[in-house]
Structures are given as structure tokens and as C-alpha cells.
């Protein structure tokens, strides 16, 4: 066994007649910049001055009325302590808490005494000193330990304020960055990404999740999650009906705005509502569940202070999306307007050329639409156009897109639809429209369509030419008896 294993501390064997805590040594503890070092130094100083003792520093948990051991000095060795002392008003130590005394002495044996750590009227904790020498604590020693504890309390309070200040500075710095991110983007998806990332980065939560209320669909929809690993996750699979009992998050949204925030799992998960006036537009869920750090009331206040801004930014982004949508869609049918359609078509054609894909263009026209208006009135004529648009939207694949071309004309771009499948696709669309036309006075309005089609690159590689070809094919379909599809052929030139 190595010799150095036997090294040990030497301790005084006799109790000093008086104790001297030098100003220099007390000054030393005031220089500590973390509580761990402060308590260690303080206990070592006590041990050095008093000899064979057991000394314990407790911090006061005012929420649970418990004194929690921070550090113990036992026979010259510093240890972490586990002791908890739950206090009740009947116990002598309660006098320390309420400030009627600063010292509680073990009356039977005078071997130990408890000293309050108090700053002005605030009870911060306690130091318990026990002599292990068999002798009693003299008045002189008690008085000097008391003075030492008053100094220690000042150092502890200063240090606590210093540490709190550091946290506040960090939160303030983080707040600036979060605020600037909230206004950085007007696009909803980008905005949500920026917000959750900057909250995790600047406030140091394990994870932030964002759910938004969709008022039209009466749903609470999961949007985005970001965690301290730097991973962004879509929460689109989380979608709950806004009814009580469906999901705890929904219940929380329904409880808001009466409830400001909700906290769970010993302050490790916080739910913050996103309000605009009295409307709850969503819920922000922050957690420290994996790191098991408590979320402090300061942090809750900080995140609450952003909730209104986030909610407002979300509403603005939604409004912007709506305005943007309105500027590119036809208000009656909800399909694109021709200008936007043509821009998309150009892009699509470019993509097809680059990757060697095919594409088909349909132009649709309602057969005898003038007589529909004359017979059933213009409101029903509009309903017919809406019904057709609805059918088009439902029939199209995700990559297809359509527009209202004119009064009763529509245009559809069908990427990757081969010419041999064009007729089948067109017929399916014609049938769907026929059987779902609006009903007036108990009978369905007889609506049929004619479709003209042209295929890229088979018929042409030029966008204007393809539109012209589809138009000519439509004319041919009308001439051949309507309610049919005709694909452009060179003889139509």
C-alpha cells in the first residue's frame, strides 16, 4: 500500500480558551464567488479556530419550512450533508426563523449551539456547531461564533445577490435576442423556428414545444419542437380537437385565459398560454425534465413576458399568410388566379425540361354556362363554379395545381401525367363534377364540362404554345358534342 495513503490532517487536541476569527480570514470568505467555496471556507475557518468540532451549514427552504444541510465539517473533513430538518412552530429552532433569537443552545449539555444566518430581517439559514471534546461551549466562544455567523450571513447574501445578478444579466441578454428573433420573420414557419430556437438557446430550457389553435377547424395543432441537442422536430402528428378531456394540453388551453400559467412535475414543466387580447392562440410548453433543473419563478416570468409578443407575431404572420393567399387566389373558387398560375407553370416547365419529366395542361370550360345562369340565377351559377373548383381540388394530386382562367374556364397543370393516362384522368374529373353539382329545388343542376389537353414535350416545349394547343383542343371537344376530353393533335393547327 502506498505510503501517501496514510497522510492525514493534524488537529488541535485541546480546546482553545478563546477564539479569534481574524479580519483577514473573514475577508477571505467574502471573496468567494460560489456558495460551495464560501461554505467550505467558512467551515474550515470554524474548524481551525475551534478544533475538534462538528459544524454544519443549513440553508433555509422557506417554501417547505425545511433546513437543508449544505456542508458538514466533521473531525477536520468537509462532507456534503444529507440532513434535513423540517421545522414546526413548536420547535425551539423556530425562534431562529422568526427572529426572536439568533442563538439556540443545547440546554442539557451545552455541547452544541445553533446560530442564525440572518441578513437584516431575512432568515437565510443556520450554522450548528457541536464540540466533540467533551467540554462545553463558553459564553465567549458562543459570542464569537455569533459574530462570525453575522459576517457569514452578509457574505452569503452578497454572494446570492451577485449570482442572481449574473442570472438576470444573462436573462436580459437572452431577452434582447429573443425579442429580435420574434420580429425577424413574417413567415409563420420560419418565425416559429426562430422563436423556439432562441428561447432554448438564451433561456437554457431542455426543450420548447409550440402548439397553435386553429379557430376555423377548432383544433389544437402541434407545430414545432426544439431541444437543447439542437434538434428541431415537427409536431404535426399532434392534433387535438378543442374539447375538454381530449388531451391535457387542450384542457389547459380551454382553462386559459383564466389561468396564467400551469406548472407540473415539481417546476420542471411550464405551460404558457399565448394570448392576443382575450383570445388564446396557442400554448408554449417549456421543460427541464431531462436535466431535472427546476424552472425558477424568474424564468417563468421571463417566458411569460414574451408570450404576448409571440402571440402577436403569430397572429401577424397568419394575417400575412392570409393576405398573401388572397393576392394569389380567386375569391370565389379558392383556386389560383391566372397570373400566379402562369408563374408556377413556368417554373414547372423549367423543372420538367431539366429533369426530362412530362407534363399535361388541361383547359376546362363549363358547357352551356350561360343557360345555367339564366335558368338557376347567378348565385346558383356561382355555386356551380365553386362546386367544380372543390372537385378539382379533391381530384388533384399533391403536385398538381389549378386556376380559374376566366368566367367559367379553369386551367390545370398535371406534372408527370403521361399522355396515355390523360383521358382516364380527365374522365374521372368529368364524372366527379357531374354527380356533385349543386341541388336546386330537389334536383341536381345538370353540369357538364369539356376539356382540352396538351402534353409537354410531346406536343410542344413552349408554354404559350401549349396553352394555345389546349385551347384549340377544348374548341374541338365542344364542337364534337361537349362533355368530353380532347387531346391536341397536329391536325388542329
Amino acid at each position: 500500500m502506498p505510503e501517501n495513503a496514510e497522510k492525514k490532517n493534524k488537529k488541535p487536541k485541546v480546546m482553545p480558551s478563546s477564539v479569534v476569527f481574524s479580519k483577514e480570514s473573514i475577508h477571505l470568505i467574502s471573496q468567494d464567488r460560489d456558495t460551495d467555496s464560501l461554505f467550505t471556507h467558512a467551515l474550515l475557518l470554524l474548524g481551525k479556530s475551534l478544533g475538534k468540532i462538528e459544524a454544519t451549514i443549513f440553508a433555509w427552504d422557506k417554501h417547505e419550512n425545511i433546513l437543508r444541510c449544505q456542508k458538514v465539517l466533521f473531525m477536520g473533513v468537509i462532507q456534503e450533508g444529507a440532513e434535513l430538518i423540517p421545522l414546526t412552530k413548536e420547535m425551539p429552532l423556530w425562534q431562529l426563523v422568526i427572529g426572536t433569537t439568533d442563538i439556540v443552545i443545547d440546554r442539557d449539555r451545552h455541547k452544541s449551539a445553533c446560530f442564525a444566518l440572518r441578513f437584516k430581517n431575512e432568515f437565510l439559514g443556520m450554522v450548528r456547531v457541536s464540540l466533540l471534546t467533551g467540554t462545553s461551549l463558553t459564553q465567549n466562544i458562543i459570542s464569537q461564533i455569533h459574530t462570525f455567523c453575522m459576517e457569514l450571513a452578509i457574505s452569503l447574501k452578497n454572494l446570492t445577490l451577485f449570482l442572481q445578478n449574473e442570472i438576470h444579466m444573462r436573462q436580459l441578454k437572452g431577452s434582447f435576442e429573443i425579442t429580435s428573433n420574434i420580429v425577424k420573420s413574417i413567415y409563420l414557419n420560419k418565425l416559429l423556428g426562430l422563436v423556439v430556437k432562441s428561447i432554448v438557446k438564451n433561456l437554457g430550457f431542455d426543450r420548447v414545444r409550440l402548439y397553435l389553435v386553429n379557430k376555423d377547424e377548432k383544433l389544437l395543432k402541434g407545430e414545432i419542437s426544439y431541444d437543447m441537442r439542437g434538434e428541431t422536430t415537427s409536431l404535426e402528428k399532434e392534433c387535438y380537437s378543442l374539447e375538454h378531456g381530449i388531451h391535457p394540453f387542450v384542457d389547459m388551453v380551454l382553462q386559459f385565459p383564466d389561468k396564467e400559467t400551469a406548472v407540473e412535475f415539481h417546476d420542471r414543466v411550464v405551460y404558457v398560454p399565448l394570448h392576443v387580447k382575450d383570445q388564446v392562440v396557442g400554448i408554449l410548453v417549456v421543460d427541464n425534465i431531462l436535466s431535472q433543473e427546476k424552472i425558477t419563478s424568474d424564468e417563468i416570468q421571463t417566458i411569460k413576458s414574451f408570450a404576448g409578443q409571440i402571440a402577436m407575431a403569430v397572429e401577424n404572420a397568419r394575417l400575412f399568410e392570409k393576405v398573401q393567399e388572397l393576392s394569389i387566389t380567386d375569391s370565389l373558387t379558392g383556386l389560383f388566379i391566372i397570373r400566379h398560375f402562369k408563374a408556377r407553370l413556368e417554373t414547372e416547365l423549367y423543372r420538367c425540361k431539366r429533369y426530362g419529366d412530362v407534363m399535361t395542361l388541361f383547359i376546362l370550360d363549363v358547357d352551356n354556362f350561360k343557360s345555367v345562369n339564366d335558368t338557376y340565377g347567378h348565385p346558383n351559377g356561382d355555386a356551380v363554379l365553386q362546386s367544380i373548383a372543390k372537385n378539382i381540388k379533391e381530384t388533384l394530386r399533391k403536385t398538381d395545381f389549378a386556376c380559374r382562367y376566366g368566367g367559367d374556364e379553369f386551367m390545370i397543370c398535371l406534372p408527370n401525367l403521361k399522355s396515355k393516362d390523360t383521358v382516364d384522368f380527365g374522365r374521372r374529373l368529368l364524372n366527379a363534377i357531374l354527380i356533385t353539382a349543386p341541388v336546386v329545388n330537389g334536383s341536381r343542376i345538370p353540369v357538364t364540362l369539356s376539356i382540352g389537353a396538351s402534353c409537354f414535350p410531346e406536343n410542344s416545349e413552349d408554354i404559350e404554345e401549349i396553352i394555345k394547343q389546349a385551347d384549340k383542343a377544348l374548341y374541338k371537344a365542344k364542337n364534337q358534342g361537349k362533355n368530353q376530353i380532347y387531346i391536341w393533335t397536329p391536325d388542329l393547327r
Binding site: M1, R229, S291
Partner: protein, 417 residues
């Protein structure tokens, strides 16, 4: 030439002597590597997890760590969080070949084959007991072999106490914020319970076997310490070697105690009369917790090459042996055990048996919550202990606290697995 400063975060492995015993290793290393200076920072176990999380989240440490000591139970969570740096640039898999069996797979991430940490020393739980005290009450080692007989011995010793100065039957670990999971594990496993399901995807500590084990253990603690109004509560300071206790389940090697014979807290009477044996056997067997400490470099390590050199030095056979003797740990290398126990072969045998039956936590893609689980279990047991302390213990309280802890752990698995 200016030196590269490697900041080393470690725990108080040898209590207040930690820095002193490490200093020799630092001096040796710095003599061999004149361009490197090691700057140690000792962080108490109870704060180390929070400090590491704080550093990882805010990165505002004045002296960010380049090498960190981490508990084996933390490895799964830290791996999941991506806190640890892959060390394959400086170490290969041969480094794991000599590691004691239960910890062999701790360093490797099964998904990516990364080497994320290297065991430094191990913590193998054994039951320390006083032969003289047991004999006085008419007991021997055979009487503390299983749960019920152990309980019987505890109660006999405890019931004979007439004053605070009389010996206490059993010492709890006394570090509720970090160590308690190690203490509760043998009782849980011995009764067929577990913390997590066998695939590590779900929690299992709320299942009937686990509930029974918790209740059994807390009944024992309650019977020993209920309504303790004494100034120390249920975890008085001092060690088994101070003479205050007849028994203790401890993960420290006996050499720590033998090495500290002159320490005023160590009673010669205990040194002459102590022995060690396996943790008591439950209906399903005797399963000690095997853990320990690993060395790792965080992802934000500034000088990975120099940091790896320091790790390589600390895990070298010579340094590891020296360090284990003085801090009271067991080596993490199988090849060192024989030399470590030279002259104390009876302990080697006990350790070999414990290693055979020992259990540890390993990383799987689903075990992200293991590190957090340790804190959750500790917090729950802490709350039960508080009820015991104030004389309000009941089985309903245990059920209630298990349910709360289970809800919290399930919440983690629902969002992080």
C-alpha cells in the same frame, strides 16, 4: 513557451483530501508532458449534474472543462444529449477489453460505435459489518445473508439501544441527491423489481415487484429511524469506520479505510473487527450495484489531444492503482484486481462474486432518461424519508410518491424516446 491548460472537473472522490491525492498524479503527468498544465475543479456530486447541464446549456463557464468525471449512471443521458465528444481519434476499442465485465460496454454508443467515455474507477457495493457487534448479539455472517435475516439482525441491534451513544444497526448512504439509487438498487433487484423494463423503453419501478421492494426497504428504514428527532436525523455524519454503525452497504474499497487508520474518525476497534460480504439476498438473488466514474471530454473541449493524454495517464495501470488505493475505489481494469488485492485475497473473492452478480445501466437509444431517473428516484425517496423522519410513514405514501415519480418519468419517455 506557454502551456496548454486542461480544465479538469472532478468530484470529491476522497472528500476533502481529493485535491491532495490528485496533486501527485498531476505532478507526475506534468513532468512527462511539460507543455500541459492540469487545472482541477472539484464539484460536489450533488451539484455536478446541474453544473454540467448549466455549462452545456449556457456555455458561460469562465473555465470550461476539457476533461470531466461522470458517473456511469449519467452516461446514457449525456450520450443522448450529445454532451460527450467521440474519442476515437485518440483511443480505439482495445481500451475496453480490460475493463471489468459489468462496465465493459459503458464507453461505447451502440448506435454509432463511438467511444464516449472511459471508466476510471469502479464502485462495487458490498455489505460491511462488525464481527464483534454481531457476535455480541449471537449472530454471524450467515445471519445477514438474506433480506429477512438481515432485517432481524438490524432490529435486534437497534432495539437494544439505550442511548444516542450506542451503536446503530445500519447506515444509510447519506448522499440522497446522488447516491441513493445505488443503495436502493440491491433491494429492488433482489425482489425481482427493476427501474426500467428489460428493453429499457419503459419505466418499471411502479410495477408490483418494485413497489413491494420499495415498501420492504422503507419499512426497514422506518423501523430503524421512525420519528428520529435527534439532531442528526437518519443520516448522521461519520462513516462505518467511525464506530457508529454495525453495518453499511458501501462502494468504497476496504483499503481506503485501512489507509486511513490514523484518521481520528476511524476507530481501531472497527478496523480490527470489520469484514465484508455480499449484499443480502432477496427472493430473486443478491445483486449489487456496480457503477463508478468515467472520464470523458465534452463536445466543446478546447484541446482534445491534450485532454486525451491526461485521460490516458489517469487510466494507466500505475496511476489507476495509486489513485484507487487512496480514494478507496476499485480499479476499472480486470488485470489490476489481482495486484490490488495482494495480501487481501479474501476481499478479491468477495469482489469477484459481486462483479459476477453486479448490475449497471447501459446506454441504449431508449434509455435517455437514466440520468434523470436517478434524480427522480432520489427525489421520491427523499420525500418518503422525510415522512419517516417526521413519523408519518405509511405504505400509501410510498404508493403516492411512486405514482408521482412514475408520471414524471413517463413524461420524459413520451417526449424524449
Amino acid at each position: 513557451m506557454s502551456k496548454t491548460v486542461i480544465n479538469f472537473w472532478l468530484m470529491p472522490n476522497a472528500d476533502f483530501d481529493t485535491l491532495g491525492v490528485l496533486q501527485q498524479e498531476i505532478s507526475n503527468f506534468e513532468q512527462q508532458n511539460r507543455n500541459i498544465h492540469i487545472e482541477p475543479t472539484i464539484i460536489p456530486w450533488a451539484h455536478a449534474w446541474d453544473r454540467l447541464m448549466n455549462y452545456y446549456k449556457h456555455q458561460d463557464e469562465l473555465a470550461p472543462p476539457d476533461v470531466i468525471q461522470i458517473g456511469t449512471t449519467w452516461v446514457p443521458s449525456l450520450t443522448y444529449l450529445g454532451v460527450l465528444r467521440d474519442m476515437r481519434d485518440f483511443f480505439d476499442y482495445s481500451i475496453t477489453e480490460d475493463i471489468i465485465e459489468p462496465l465493459k460496454n459503458v464507453p461505447k454508443s451502440p448506435n454509432t460505435d463511438m467511444i464516449l467515455c472511459i471508466p476510471w474507477f469502479s464502485d462495487i457495493r458490498l455489505l460491511y459489518f462488525r464481527k464483534d457487534v454481531l457476535k455480541k448479539f449471537g449472530f454471524g455472517v450467515a445471519d445477514i445473508g438474506d433480506f429477512e435475516s438481515f432485517r432481524n439482525v438490524c432490529m435486534t441491534i437497534q432495539n437494544s439501544r439505550k442511548s444516542d451513544d450506542d451503536i446503530m444497526a445500519y447506515k444509510l448512504s447519506g448522499h440522497p441527491e446522488t447516491i441513493f439509487i445505488h443503495d436502493i438498487a440491491p433491494w429492488l433487484w433482489g425482489m425481482g423489481g427493476n427501474f426500467l423494463s428489460s428493453d429499457l423503453r419503459r419505466i418499471a419501478f411502479d410495477k408490483p415487484e418494485a413497489r413491494n421492494a420499495f415498501k420492504w426497504y422503507f419499512h426497514l428504514v422506518n423501523d430503524l429511524f421512525a420519528g428520529t428527532e435527534g439532531k442528526y436525523g437518519i443520516t448522521p455524519p461519520g462513516t462505518f469506520f467511525s464506530g457508529r454503525y454495525a453495518m453499511e452497504i458501501n462502494g468504497k474499497s476496504p483499503f481506503y479505510n485501512l489507509a486511513n487508520l490514523k484518521h481520528s474518525d476511524f476507530s481501531p476497534e472497527v478496523v480490527e473487527n470489520y469484514d465484508l460480504t455480499q449484499v443480502p439476498k432477496g427472493p430473486k438473488g443478491s445483486f449489487p450495484f456496480v457503477g463508478g466514474s468515467c472520464l470523458a471530454t465534452p463536445k466543446l473541449c478546447r484541446y482534445p489531444e491534450e485532454a486525451s493524454e491526461w485521460i490516458r495517464y489517469l487510466i494507466s495501470p500505475e496511476s489507476q492503482l495509486r489513485h484507487c488505493y487512496v480514494i478507496g475505489a476499485f480499479p476499472s481494469r480486470t488485470s489490476l484486481l489481482k495486484e490490488f488485492f495482494k495480501g487481501y485475497e479474501q476481499y478479491h473473492e468477495a469482489i469477484t462474486t459481486a462483479l459476477k452478480n453486479g448490475i449497471t445501466f447501459l446506454y441504449t437509444p431508449y434509455s435517455s432518461l437514466v440520468g434523470s431517473l436517478e434524480k427522480i428516484i432520489t427525489a421520491f425517496t427523499d420525500r418518503v424519508l422525510l415522512q419517516i423522519r417526521t413519523g408519518k410513514f405509511s405504505e400509501e405514501i410510498v404508493d403516492e410518491e411512486i405514482a408521482k415519480a412514475a408520471a414524471e418519468a413517463n413524461y420524459i419517455t413520451s417526449i424524449h424516446s
